[in-house]
């Protein structure tokens, strides 16, 4: 039976609350006092969380097979009937509707929950900043877009949210827009994102043309007739044998959509915007670039898992790109000196893990890691913000140290988060990471190796960051050291709550091997079934118990090794990092300069695009303006010259000619004007004689008649 309830009927309110407050900020924000802004904006997110929790609760009341609630607000785009390639006509429609199923349950709770905590934190962090209302307005707008994204019931509405979060990312990264590096970073984020979006749009179009619909599923809709969804359409096509496992069309769709995910979720080669995005305020980094926006790509791929499961090529591409990104980013994080940059590369690396999970078919594991990562990464960023706040704005970890006694809340929560990300049992990160590595091992040994090494690197650089930030003696400037203080409660309480989740958050997916039920995976199972009968088994694969335990042990070992190495280098200083760097100078430089990727992109793409712009500008100046505009002018002048020539030579010539002709004729006549009387008399005589001669005949008649 389909689930119903107040909260499920009012799904549309969840994105609406933050939208309303964002609009309020737009119109009245400047006039409101900071306290008013805080209450409104944080409150709206809190309300969204309450409604989301209520909706999830009501959804859980239904039995697992029917946990889908869909609600269409109105039909948005109805271009009319479409001819499919098979020949039959279908009615394509894109509606404004919301879908709540186990997958979007997880996402909406993470987004609203972590989002709410970050909003509370921002009250403390941004309290002294200018543009307070603008910040919260943008943050709420972001929440609206992100919630639209996760609750959308079709690809186009999801894309609206997708673009919206991209826009808000731009606005928030460039929040300190007077700083050139910040506004540049905002532009970079948006442009790189947009490149991915091109692939996404093509993917949506291809889906629409192939399957005739872009709605995810028709389950849960009141009227089943006339309504269709991707899942149903795909199943019909597979049953009718028009599409199948390994279809090139489905591979095309999957790869195009993945291009979009690469841009949004910062995979190779479109990851370059995320480190620069650290120019934005720290809560922005926590919310957008750790917990929510960058995970949209992962969510999207899992949403379309039915298509991906039918395309082994696409899955392999996803897994390889994910694994490559994971290790690539981790290598760059080893040498970063800015606390937020370390976390940025760590995010890219962890996102790579998530895609690795998706690529090997462990969709539930990917979402699980998304959730746990949201907890500890948000905690890490907020903690970093707390540290920066304590250090009066200093972000260079080389200039920190000795903070563990001074800012205890921050220290302990960050310690928990670092343990979680390193994958230490029983913290959250252990469970999700272990599951990913387990599945990778089954699929491709090489991928497991990459993931395994990355886990070690992760542990190393995270603890490097921790040690350099908190341990040892304080390496900061004097006046900075004097002002070190713990953050106010709006900042520390979210830290503690997130720390709590970082500890227990993984327990929801406690693997069966060591006595748990893995309720998380079971919860998500209905969504991840796909359309092939046997693929349902892909998600819950039962390993041999010994193998799983061994893999767990291996993960823990490499993590411990990483921590130990970091301890040696940065805590006890048995090995001196500078000497290590000196031994491999070229490698160190390569890592430090992030493999010169930004420089390569700049030279190969950015400069070439600017050259194209210059070329077009020259074309415009020389050809359009030169030939067209100036040429038209020249043509007009030429025409007038011709006209003038015609007038001067021909028209006037004719006149002059006739005058000359007259003059010519006047010569004989002039000769007659002698002024001499006798010649006049002679003329009279001559005339008379001529007259007589002419009329002589008549005269003769006259004379003869008289006789």
């Amino acid at each position: 039976m389909t689930p119903t309830g107040y909260f499920l009927d009012h799904l549309w309110l969840i994105p609406l609350f933050p939208l309303a407050t964002a609009a309020l900020m737009l119109f009245f924000g400047r006039r409101l006092p900071n306290a008013g802004v805080s209450v409104l904006c944080v409150g709206s997110v809190g309300l969204s969380f309450v409604y989301a929790a209520g909706a999830v609760f009501q959804l859980l009341a239904a039995d697992p097979e029917h946990r889908v609630a869909q609600q269409i607000m109105f039909e948005w785009l109805t271009p009319g009937s479409m001819q499919m390639t098979g020949g039959h006509a279908i009615r394509f429609v894109a509606d404004w509707g919301f879908l709540l199923d186990p997958l979007s349950c997880v996402m909406v709770l993470v987004v609203t929950g972590v989002g709410f905590l970050i909003h509370v934190y921002s009250v403390g962090y941004m309290g002294h900043e200018g543009g307070y209302y603008r910040f919260f307005g943008y943050m709420n707008l972001f929440m609206f877009a992100m919630l639209t994204l996760v609750l959308a019931n079709n690809m186009l509405l999801m894309f609206v949210g997708w673009e919206g979060v991209g826009l808000c990312s731009y606005l928030l990264i460039g929040f300190y827009f007077l700083k050139k590096s910040a506004s540049d970073a905002g532009k970079k984020a948006f442009i790189v994102n947009r490149i991915g979006d091109a692939g996404f749009i093509l993917g949506i179009l291809l889906t629409a043309v192939t399957l005739g619909t872009i709605r995810f599923t028709s389950q849960g809709l009141p009227d089943a007739s006339g309504a269709t969804g991707i899942l149903q359409s795909l199943k019909a096509a597979v049953d009718a044998q028009t599409l199948g496992y390994g279809s090139s069309v489905l591979t095309g769709i999957a790869l195009l959509l993945f291009v979009g995910a690469m841009g949004k979720s910062a995979q190779i080669p479109l990851y370059v915007w995320l480190p620069d995005a650290m120019e934005g305020p720290t809560p922005v980094s926590a919310l957008i670039h750790a917990a929510t926006m960058v995970t949209a790509g992962v969510y999207m791929v899992v949403r379309m898992n039915a298509i991906y499961q039918l395309s082994p090529i696409a899955m392999d591409v996803v897994a390889i790109v994910g694994a490559a990104t994971a290790i690539f980013a981790a290598s760059m994080a080893l040498v970063q000196t800015d606390i937020k940059k370390v976390l940025a590369y760590s995010t890219i690396s962890q996102l790579g893990y998530m895609f690795l999970a998706l690529g090997v078919g462990a969709f539930a594991a990917g979402i699980f890691h998304l959730m746990t990562h949201a907890f500890f990464k948000a905690l890490l960023f907020l903690g970093a913000g707390s540290v920066i706040h304590a250090m009066s704005g200093e972000q260079d970890i080389r200039k920190m140290g000795g903070l563990d006694k001074k800012i205890k809340y921050t220290y302990y929560t960050m310690l928990i988060a670092t343990l979680a990300i390193a994958g230490i049992f029983p913290f959250a990160g252990f469970f999700s990471k272990d599951e990913i590595l387990g599945r990778a091992f089954d699929r491709f040994f090489l991928l497991w190796v990459v993931g395994f090494i990355t886990a070690g690197l992760t542990a190393f650089y995270m603890f490097r960051m921790l040690f350099l930030t908190f341990f040892g003696y304080c390496r900061a400037d004097e006046h900075v050291e004097k002002h070190i203080h713990e953050s106010p409660w709006p900042m520390t309480v979210p830290l503690m709550i997130l720390a709590g989740f970082s500890i227990v958050g993984g327990w929801i997916g406690w693997p069966e091997v060591i006595g748990g039920e893995n309720r998380f995976e079971k919860f998500l199972d209905p969504v991840l079934k796909g359309v092939l009968p046997e693929t349902g088994e892909v998600n819950i694969v039962h390993h041999a118990v010994l193998k799983e335990l061994l893999l767990m042990g291996a993960s823990l070992t490499i993590a411990a090794a990483g921590i130990f190495l970091a301890y040696q280098l940065y805590c006890s200083k048995r090995i001196v990092p500078e000497l290590v760097a000196q031994k491999v100078p070229k490698l160190y430089q390569l890592l430090f300069h992030k493999y010169y990727v930004d420089e390569i992109y700049d030279a190969a793409i950015v400069e070439r695009t600017k050259d194209l712009g210059t070329l077009l500008g020259r074309f415009d100046a020389n050809v359009i303006d030169g030939v067209g505009v100036n040429g038209a002018g020249w043509l007009a002048r030429f025409g007038s010259t011709l006209s003038m020539w015609w007038d001067k030579w021909i028209i006037d010539g004719l006149l002059n000619f006739s005058a000359k002709l007259m003059q010519l004729f006047s010569y004989p006549v002039r000769l007659l004007q002698t002024g001499v009387f006798s010649s006049y008399a002679m003329l009279i005589l001559v005339g008379l004689v001529i007259l007589l001669a002419y009329y002589g005949h008549h005269m003769q008649v006259l004379l003869r008649g008289a006789r």
Binding site: G675, V676, F677, S678, A681, L685
Partner: protein, 102 residues
């Protein structure tokens, strides 16, 4: 009476002489005299035809012409006096030449 042709030839001869005089001569008084000749030649013609046909109208017309010729000569002389003033030098007298001397 002699045959009419005789009188006509005479009249014609006088007429032609008169015309040549008007056209050719430089002296304006001579031109006037030639005009008189023309008029009188016409008179002879008229009277001859009047005698031939016994119509007195010709002779009456000749009388008119004589009167008119006299008046015309008077007027012509008056014009010449007006147009050809006494020469400045005093020598040569008033010589009317057809060329206009400014």
């Amino acid at each position: 009476m002699l045959p009419i042709e005789n009188y006509l030839f005479l009249s014609l001869a006088l007429f032609i002489i008169g015309v040549i005089g008007v056209v050719t001569r430089r002296n304006v008084i001579v031109v006037l005299m030639s005009i008189e000749l023309i008029l009188n030649a016409v008179n002879i013609n008229l009277v001859a035809f009047s005698r031939l046909y016994g119509d007195v109208a010709g002779q009456v017309f000749a009388l008119f012409i004589i009167a008119d010729a006299a008046a015309e000569a008077a007027v012509g002389l008056g014009i010449i006096i007006a147009f050809f003033p006494e020469p400045r030098n005093g020598a040569g007298g008033r010589n009317g030449f057809v060329e206009v001397v400014a």
